[in-house]
Symmetry: C2
DNA sequence: CTCTATCTCCTACACATGTAGTTCTACACC
DNA sequence: GGTGTAGAACTACATGTGTAGGAGATAGAG
């Protein structure tokens, strides 16, 4: 299956995270966890969820008159897609250029690199 | 000055790159380099540039009846801002988590890591 | 069986973005 | 000097997104 090309906004990510965390959730639950803190109307959350469904990122079933949502994509897929997209547009598709950037910006330090290198060695399957 | 919070679309990035590359460019030049290849109308490019100006990312002066555009933000600033934004939304602000992701996804291999580690060592100022 | 709270469904609006047409102006050429 | 052409300026439209209200359904309280 060709991993879809998904790019989500902050808002959409926040909604999806509830679903990813719980596996399934009603509009009310999502509103409780995401809408309330951001002072969004109940219907706003409902609309957002409907649109995610239209886009095929979640599916819903009616249970006791309530819509219950489940994600149809994994967090991994989305993360992969979004990172990949950024690498493509910002670093001509070269992921190590992104790492270099991170290093140069001092976003990650020697210890981080070392940790990652070890992680790589432990996996020992790449390259 | 607080480094702006810029996030650009592919299209906008393409336009900006012409300006970053040349330092300055007329609408015609940008159209030539970005619009033509993508089969965009001249006016489309003009509109896009106008909007970038409205957003404060470029400024223009009239020279011999033509608008000449110059970037007001550097590519670095934009790259930094966009990477930072991705790290925030996708990796809770932890850049090394992004690197881990890259490693786990096999986007970067041992050699890349090694190269980056050496780069770090050469700079030798971090951490 | 009716009333109320809750939830879905539909509609709406503002803003950003990609897309482009129309109009007006200015200069260049015959 | 009229005419055509290049470019600016303005307007327009579709789509995605954040935002929400109002109408209609529905289930539980009495």
């Amino acid at each position: 299956m060709p991993s879809k090309d998904v790019s989500l906004s902050d808002m959409q990510l926040a909604l999806m995270r509830v679903l990813w965390g719980a596996g399934r959730a009603t509009t009310a639950e999502v509103h409780e966890r995401v809408g309330k803190p951001r002072q969004l109307a109940y219907t706003t959350v409902a609309t957002l969820l409907t649109r995610l469904e239209k886009r095929g990122l979640v599916k819903s079933v009616k249970e006791q008159g309530e819509r219950v949502f489940k994600p149809t994509v994994t967090e991994s897929e989305v993360t992969r897609s979004m990172v990949s997209s950024l690498v493509d547009t910002l670093f001509r598709g070269d992921p190590s250029a992104l790492v270099s950037h991170l290093v140069n910006e001092k976003d990650i330090d020697r210890d981080d690199i070392e940790a990652v290198r070890k992680l790589l060695a432990r996996r020992g399957k790449t390259g």
